[in-house]
């Protein structure tokens, strides 16, 4: 029984499936947590306060959006002779108010529900008791997620009276409300899984809550902006065309309440409702978050690392595919000048994707030191203990770059992982772009141009990754504490990337004719292509030099590191 595979990375064998079902339905953690949750008086107070809040908000919202009180007095009745259209839009306003409030509540409550779960056990000193049982990390985490989500379901149910008002008054149909609730619940589970991850990663409950809110805030805001930039004319309530990307974005509760989330996505002859796709994406993301949590939980005997890596690569590829297809579909193609509103604003096909890639890379840089700085024993970092960099132990076997180690949490697999992720994103984006342009009248050379641009971008990013990796290894030689080495690696990279700006600024002061980034020496600047994405014709030429530079610099840093290690070895021997 206990030897069955970890359910979240077992393949889809029957036993694994059965275990997954059991970890969802017959999970002891769920039973215990629900018992405790439903018991305390805290819970009643909370539910009461929540109902009161919702009621107040509903009445306020109704009054605000329709200008009427719910119980009209006689003088109100006199002037309540509205046109049908006006009344319709007012009721819609009420619908958005109610469901917007609900979406905001979910964003606020869902991550907080799980953020305390694991770190709470850790602080209460009861986690060890759970770890020594045959419960797998996956079961434990699934249990925590399910019990939190059950609470979320309760809150959604309690809000039914407020949304029933929408149906009664005619602002929405019962089907709308039902579908929206489903999407909100799916989004809530996904946000809760983010809280669960930080609950495993953070040291205190407060930190876990803060990190969860910051991340959820960024994700919700970012995906809403992505959604918004795909909406032409800024008319959010317009039920425009949808793609799988819309379904992905509908994980955001604020997108879930919009009419687009009620559409269906055409797949050839079939039309799949958005919520079905959303549920699929949610399942993949939640599974990834649970695996990541299991990895951070660091229960020894688990093998979350390789599963986490596989899932990350797969999900990155899928997201790139869906996003590029959706973004390109939303913006008209084949026009060289401007595209009006939409993703393609002022850029050509590939420029958008390249920009997205580069921005994603910059967003990832704070996390790269964690991947690249080699720790002596990655699986077994005690919470609160001092981690050491393990680079000095240079046994001949541990070659630095091994594709075969890509799924293992060892140093030799770090850069291969980065490169494989890049490859997945590149492949996904290209496939997505191909699907998007297949139906439209885009000339072939435009598509090939895009492929070339993206390939060069990927090559450039691979070079930046290599440079970052070499810097991380150098930092690990200079500083023994892992946290210090990580900070140093990030600092070195930032310095290399940002320092030339000052020099360039000085030069350009003398030559008044152009801005400093256009100066001929500007191509010395590593990150320059980032700022040239508006002009995709130039970008290929501009990227060539920084790309070469990244590889050469990476090589030089590697040589310096080798010299340092040899010197230390000689000192140790002599």
């Amino acid at each position: 029984m206990t030897s069955t595979a970890f359910p979240i990375h077992g393949r889809l064998r029957l036993a694994a499936l059965r275990q997954s079902v059991r970890s969802l339905l017959f999970n002891p953690v769920v039973v215990r947590d629900l018992r405790a949750q439903m018991r305390g008086t805290k819970s009643y107070w909370f539910q009461g306060a929540y109902l009161l809040l919702l009621g107040t908000l509903a009445v306020t919202g109704y009054t605000l959006s329709t200008g009427q009180s719910l119980m009209p007095r006689s003088e109100d009745a006199a002037r309540s002779t509205l046109s049908i259209v006006e009344a319709q839009s007012q009721l819609q306003g009420f619908y958005y108010f109610t469901f917007g409030t609900l979406a905001a509540l979910i964003c606020l409550i869902a991550p907080a529900l799980t953020a305390a779960s694991i770190v709470g056990e850790r602080q209460r000193l009861s986690l060890d008791l759970l770890v020594t049982t045959p419960l797998t990390a996956g079961e434990l985490l699934t249990g925590k997620l399910v019990s939190s989500v059950a609470f979320l379901g309760l809150l959604l149910t309690l809000s039914l009276p407020a949304s029933a008002l929408c149906v009664l008054l005619g602002g929405a149909t019962l089907g709308d409300v039902f579908r929206t609730y489903l999407l909100l619940a799916i989004g809530g589970v996904t946000l809760a899984s983010i809280g669960l991850f930080f609950s495993c990663a953070a040291r205190t409950t407060l930190l876990a809550v803060i990190w969860s809110y910051v991340t959820v805030g960024i994700v919700v805001f970012g995906t809403f902006c992505l959604f918004g930039s795909g909406v032409r004319g800024g008319n959010f309530t317009d039920p425009g065309a949808v793609s799988p990307f819309t379904a992905l974005l509908a994980l955001n509760p604020f997108v879930a309440i919009l009419p687009r989330a009620a559409q269906s996505v055409p797949f050839g002859a079939f039309a799949v409702p958005v919520w079905v796709l959303t549920a699929g994406f949610a399942a993949l993301i939640v599974r990834l978050m649970i695996t990541a949590s299991a990895y951070r939980l660091g229960v020894y005997g688990g093998s979350a690392a390789s599963s986490l890596r596989r899932q990350t690569i797969f999900l990155l590829g899928l997201l790139a595919l869906v996003a590029s297809q959706g973004m390109l579909q939303a913006s008209p193609l084949g026009d060289d000048s401007t595209y009006g509103y939409g993703y393609g604003h002022g850029m050509r096909l590939g420029g958008t994707l390249a920009a997205a890639l580069l921005v994603a890379f910059l967003g990832m840089t704070p996390f790269l030191p964690g991947l690249f700085v080699p720790a002596a024993a990655p699986e077994d970092a005690p919470p609160g203990g001092v981690e050491e960099t393990g680079v000095w132990e240079t046994n001949a076997d541990s070659r630095a770059y091994r594709l075969s180690r890509v799924f293992r949490p060892v140093h030799a697999g770090a850069l291969p992982l980065f490169h494989l992720c890049l490859l997945a994103v590149f492949g996904g984006a290209m496939t997505g772009a191909f699907i998007a342009v297949r139906g439209s009248v885009v000339p072939l050379e435009r598509y090939l141009e895009t492929v070339l641009l993206l390939a060069i971008t990927a090559l450039y990013l691979a070079g930046l990754g290599l440079l970052f990796w070499q810097l991380a290894r150098l930092a690990a030689c200079l500083v023994r504490r892992v946290s210090g080495a990580r900070a140093l690696a990030f600092g070195l990279f930032a310095l290399l990337a940002a320092l030339p700006i000052m020099g360039l600024a000085l030069i350009s002061n003398n030559s008044q004719n152009s801005s400093w980034e256009d100066h001929i020496l500007g191509c010395l600047w590593l990150l320059r292509p980032l700022f040239k994405l508006g002009q995709p014709q130039e970008i290929v030429a501009l990227m060539a030099f920084p790309t070469a530079q990244a590889y050469v610099l990476g090589g030089i840093v590697g040589l310096i590191r080798g010299m340092l290690i040899r010197k230390a070895d000689r000192r140790a021997a002599g």
Binding site: T2, S3, P28, R32, G40, L125, Y300, G301
Partner: protein, 318 residues
Amino acid sequence: MNTPLLQAEILRKTYGPLVAVEGISLELHPGDIFGFIGPNGAGKTTTIKMLATLLQPTSGTATIDGIDLIRYPREVRPLIGYMPDAFGVYDDVKVWEYLDFFAAAYRQSRDERTATVDRVLELTDLTEKRDAFVQGLSRGMQQRLCLAKCLVHDPKVLLLDEPASGLDPRARIVIKELITRLGQMGKTIIVSSHILPELSDFCNRIGIMERSHLLISGDVETIIRQLQPTRQLLITPLKGVGASGPLREDLEAMPQVEKATVENGDDGTVRVAFTGGLSEQAALLRTLIERGHALCSFTESAMDLEDVFLRVTTGRVN
């Protein structure tokens, strides 16, 4: 005794430059109660956590019931019951629910669980607290509840980290009786403590740890014999200090007496280092009486664990 149930070889754990546990080797058989003694910070908790599959050893091997616990921690977990030195309980959970949860975590069916909960409540004498809330129990009862939790799956090995710390004397006695009973049931038990008398009554094997080293380990009699090759006899003359001078001189002249010294105090007791066995001891007593010494007491001073502890440790703490 055949193969050991628990075997550890040169288990070592380091945290960066700090060595928490340095090369510990152990062998325990069914029914052994191993007392693990050492001052705070000696590395007892770290050792127990390694055996409980919570910490991965830096090096060394350990097996429980023949299963390598470093390579197959998940297979070993059902064999051990672990009680941490500090643990928390959940709010708003009843005693039987708490135990039911752990039984479910060990994959027991609903019917099995009911029987299990009754069994362990009975064993730990908590039956009347069945429906009490866990957070409302006294510290001693919580400690017993945790022990009950360790027993739901009837493990072969119990790892108890300071089970009696922070308890009042009565609760301490209850826990000690419980552990003794579990030992009689044939479980292999490791009990740690920084206070020696807690363990001296019921352990048949002890290990003394200090500053990450296991200084000595083995069964209690062997250790005492190792540390004390000569027996100590205490002989008190009837007439007190006045009579102890001639008594001491007579004793010094006897064959198997290494040394005789007059103890401090006014009863004039003479301490004798004696190399002979029990029959020689009887002969010694007869000779003394034949020579006309009036004795009111003739006893062997047994060296207890306390003395062993003081002899072995240096009193330094890391």
